[in-house]
Amino acid sequence: MTQPDDFLALDDELDEAEQGIRDVVRDFAQDRLAPQISDWYERGTVPREIFTDFGKLGVFGMHLDGYGCAGTSAVAYGVACRELEAVDSGLRSVVSVQGSLAMFAIHRWGTEEQRQEWLPRMAAGQAIGCFGLTEAAAGSDPASMRTTARRDGADWVLSGTKMWITNGTLADVAIVWARTDDGIRGFVVPTDAPGFSANAIPRKLSLRASDTAELVLDEVRLPAASAFPDVRGLRGPLSCLNEARYGILWGTVGAARTCYLEALSYALTRTQFGRPLAGFQLNQRRLTEMVIAVGNAGLVGLRLGRLKDAGRVEPAQISYGKLANARAALDVARSARAMLGAAGITLDHPVMRHLTNLETVVTYEGTEEMHTLSIAAAITGLKAFR
């Protein structure tokens, strides 16, 4: 018999450890996060304790090796993202930014000293990281960034402003990408460095249970050892984005699943014209399209996860997953919202919250347009940008 929440029985493809990790993260998400998310969302906050709870759970940098990280498969990490984003995209974003952007950057590009200093504390959730690449005037085109790092004796001095930075006001450490005479380079910036400040971005209508900030670097002086030693150009930050996009393409499966299950449950109990909404053909079509969208997105996640674990996943394939799954999830959320009618617009149901979140998820970490062009570049050999 098919299960509504896993119609293709995809989770049978997970190995024992991946299933175990799924169960733990799902239990945690449903027991500790789901009951409070509406409240956090309404108040526009994410409690600091979430980071220590996530740290204890082990999700920060879980697919990295050593330095207090669990070293799970990429698939297990994807499943964890799915179960977290089934509650809220903002909570998954916290994990993506900490693990895939900040920790991955240090793990992949940092010196041994930088890794020892930051990774164990970040894995435990005792230190929070953020990632500064985007600027107000440099979004899809990060090469046009204006933030600079100049040498002053042995020191580096950073100046500029980064925008839309998740975890920004909470962070203990920021990975900041800046122009140098030697191309774009990455820096590990303790947020208590003089000249560093973060301003929360107010009045958000999306990802409200997530901290989003502007980072201001006003002549921030750092020792020579703050720079990542070996990486130059956009290759550095793009490698991190690839990691984070991988988490997103799994996470959106969870958001879509929640919206679909909510619509299903609502349609089975709400009656109009003397029968449940689910008994009307137009709604049956909607539900069928949702279950197909959720199943297909899950398949994409699993396939890309297995490729990633085999060390064979290409950035254009990650673009495929991010584009296809974020778009699919947004469609499911919109359809679910429509089925719930007026009830769909409040925080009493999760769908409008997911819907507004997904409006961000579909554009952050590469807009639909950029991923479309990346995929097209891979299949045509012709770059339509740059």
């Binding site: 024992e16 450890a17 175990g20 990790i21 169960d23 733990v24 082990g58 669990a70 070293g71």
Partner: protein, 259 residues
């Protein structure tokens, strides 16, 4: 210290549970099996004792093949190894027979301390710890909400309606725990990944020296004679407060002898 935790796979309490119509035993196929909730507290307490005093934690279960899922969870939490007693001959065993079978396995593993949840959420007999202690000839410390070990002596607080009793004994012993004792940990990801590499012994009744004539439904000392669906819940009584609500509530409580 050699600590053995006895755990049981039970049908998920969030699903509809039922007995089979033919032999009136639990229909295990009808519901997902999960680790009995109180047993999670038992595993947690065993791990804490090990962390404080050293030693090894063995998880022991008796149940069908799929009970391995339950054992994996306990191993993921941090137990060191597992023993799974499984045999067709054991199907339908009652508490008395189960205590005999477990006793036989404990004879193989040895133990300084046996920890159990105080009852399972399926049969809810709550007698296994007592039966086991009797068969093993060791002290039973039941319904513990706190356990302290000092050398070879063990002290527990036994939960009661009026507070708690202080109970003390000498190891080896059997302890059953209640949910107030601790907060079970979530399995760590490393623990989950390590679980499948941990020693896992599967025993049949012959391996454990269990006499087939003393186990199984046909030889059970107790019998489920009949069962029926739980009656649907009756509608509650609604009192509209028109100034007399407090009196009505008090009268209701008095009629039920609560006050």
């Amino acid at each position: 210290m050699n600590i053995v935790v006895c755990v049981k796979q039970v049908p998920d309490t969030e699903t509809t549970r039922t007995l089979k119509s033919d032999d009136r035993t639990l229909d295990r196929a009808a519901a997902d099996g999960v680790l009995n909730e109180l047993d999670e507290y038992a595993v947690e307490e065993a791990l804490r004792i090990k962390e404080a005093h050293g030693g090894e934690v063995t998880v022991l279960t008796m149940g069908p093949d799929k009970a391995t899922d339950t054992i994996r969870k306990a191993l993921s939490m941090g137990a060191d190894k597992a023993v799974h007693l499984t045999d067709e001959a054991l199907v339908g065993s009652d508490a008395l027979q189960t205590s005999y079978a477990i006793q036989q396995v404990l004879g193989r593993t040895g133990f300084d301390l046996v920890v159990l949840g105080s009852e399972s959420t399926d049969a809810r007999t709550g007698v296994l710890a007592a039966m086991l202690a009797e068969r093993l000839g060791v002290p039973q410390l039941s319904l513990a909400n706190k356990v302290e070990i000092d050398g070879s002596s063990i002290r527990v607080q036994r939960q009661t309606d009026y507070g708690y009793d202080k109970v003390e004994a000498t190891l080896p012993a059997v302890v059953s725990v209640v949910e107030k004792i601790n907060e079970p940990r979530y399995p760590s990801f490393k623990g989950i990944m390590a679980a499948k590499k941990k020693p896992f012994e599967t025993l049949g009744i012959a391996d454990a020296g269990i006499d087939a004539a003393q186990v199984g439904l046909a030889n059970a000392a107790t019998e489920v004679v009949d069962f029926a669906e739980a009656p649907p819940r009756e509608r509650g009584q609604i009192v509209k407060d028109e100034g007399e609500g407090g009196v009505a509530a008090a009268e209701f409580l008095a009629s039920k002898k609560f006050i």
